[in-house]
Amino acid sequence: MVSNTAAKLTLKAENVSVYYGPTLAVREVYLDIPRNQIVALVGPSGCGKSTILRCFNRLNDLIPGARVEGQIHFDGRDICDPRVDPVELRRRVGMVFQKPNPFPKSIYENIAFGARINGYQGDMDELIERSLKGAALWDEVKDKLKESGLSLSGGQQQRLCIARAIAIEPEVILMDEPCSALDPISTHKIEELMHDLKKRYTLVIVTHNMQQASRVSDRTAFFNAKETAQGGKLGYLVEYDSTQRIFSDPKEETTRDYVSGRFG
């Protein structure tokens, strides 16, 4: 059972709304993310689940005109506060993207890059090995660390990106549809990896795949979108509960329809 005491929470979003320019994109989201659990954000396209995910590491800062209202508590601070340095935050909240995006560098340098810019002083070879083992990629690449990261298969590239993220020892890992570009076997490997990762990290994943959400996550947040008068879409959180509850006995009718595949 999930306890709601603050000590076990890693992230707590309170009344978060995101605007792109003058347009409200997602409104009034409340989410408690417990430590060492996997929280899945699901919902139809345009419901704002990726937008909310990108609030947790302030990646929306990079989009001109994007604005976040509300509060997100992380380690006793509100990370939406402009005084919080996003660079420092992103070291503690890592991210894996929808499409594998290794840097055009060697496998070794892909991981060493993050460590170097964050001032890692220890044994680099050891860190690389540990990170690659943590991402279940070491055995496949240990003999070709000097080869380009782009020479790997899609699934391997994605695990390289996970290795790159865990190399800087974050507390939270955000994953934005990490398996949507991968085949079923690679997807299976990454899902197994998520189970291992949650022992050390807190994971928040966005997924389109209902089976994936039910297989890997502890808690599930269902987002939906409605058409606005201007013809855009406004996302909102419908329901947030334990995954088991969301998939078997949700409170809302739309949640039941969505998770059973009746729309979306």
Partner: protein, 311 residues
């Protein structure tokens, strides 16, 4: 539902004229092919002329002389044909101009693509492109009448004609080219790659230096090589500002004569068709052509070898 399906139209309404369509198709192919062939034939014609005249030149002057003489005096009584005298001037001027254009162009490109707000970019980019539209003869007089006198206040021993002022102005002339092409290369770096770097906690300059520039490297090098080719072939600025004094060496403070300046000198003079003087300009042109061809070949190879492929 009573949607009008295509089947509802009377079958007799269709009369496709397949023969006519085929004829038009063929005609279009022939017209396009002809125009494409014109440019290819022109190139082949130029190359053929260069080769034939150069062969005739080499029958009068040995290749060994051409490559090893230390003086270039084809218009004097005691003729010497050391092409490296002209090559050294061209190389000096090109190298200095690239040393000017690389930092200016690359920094302008980084500024435009990564730091400038859309408003600033909308104003700055056209201004930069105006630089590319200034006639080279204007640049030439600017070098001769403005830059040289200013340089002379710092370097009194500078000649009235000198390689330095020509190369500085030439560098400014090719800067927009480097900036514009590098900016294209930098903007083509996928957003996902930058997001990846930011998500690891890198700052803006770390992202640019360690991820964006390496990813755009092949495009940046290609832009630079195109600019060098342009500098090597540039004629007006060097003719006006660098002088007409064939000097072997890499001293930018003295008057020099580049390959292009020599071709201008002979073309403006009264060298009769078929004389040795006349043939020298083809030999010099051939050398110029080989140099730019080699550079472009290298650029092509470099881009193929180092271009990163993103899906």
């Amino acid at each position: 539902m009573t949607a009008e399906l295509p089947g509802d139209i009377a079958p007799g309404s269709w009369h496709p004229n397949r023969d006519r369509a085929r004829q038009v198709q063929t005609a279009v192919k022939v017209v396009c092919g002809t125009f494409a062939a014109v440019s290819i034939l022109t190139t082949l014609g130029i190359v053929a002329t260069l080769i034939f005249e150069t062969i005739e030149f080499l029958q009068a002057v040995s290749l060994w002389q051409f490559l090893t003489d230390t003086k270039w005096t084809p218009l004097f009584a005691s003729k010497q044909f050391g092409i490296f005298v002209l090559v050294s001037a061209t190389v000096t001027i090109s190298v200095i101009s690239v040393l000017v254009a690389l930092p200016l162009g690359l920094l302008a490109a980084i500024c435009l693509s990564e730091y400038a707000t859309p408003r600033v970019r909308r104003i700055l980019k056209p201004v930069l492109e105006i630089l590319a539209g200034i006639p080279t003869v204007v640049y030439g007089y600017f070098a001769l009448l403005t830059v040289t006198p200013v340089l002379k206040t710092f370097i009194p021993e500078l000649g009235r004609f000198n390689a330095l002022s020509a190369s500085l102005v030439l560098g400014i002339m090719i800067t927009p080219m480097v900036a514009s092409l590098s900016e294209d290369a930098i903007s083509a770096v996928p957003r996902s790659l930058k997001d990846g770097a930011y998500a690891l906690g890198s700052t803006k300059h770390e992202t640019i230096l360690s991820v964006v520039l390496p990813a755009a490297l092949s495009g940046i090098v290609a832009s630079l090589i195109l600019a060098v080719s342009r500098a090597i072939g540039e004629t007006m600025i060097v003719t006006l500002a660098a002088g007409a004094n064939p000097t072997l060496g890499f001293n930018p403070l003295v008057p020099v004569m580049t390959m292009t300046a020599f071709i201008v000198q002979v073309s403006l003079g009264d060298a009769a068709v078929g004389t040795l003087e006349y043939k020298t300009i083809f030999a010099v042109g051939m050398t110029l052509f080989i140099m730019t061809l080699t550079l472009n070949g290298f650029s092509f190879w470099f881009v193929c070898r180092f271009r990163e492929k993103y899906e």
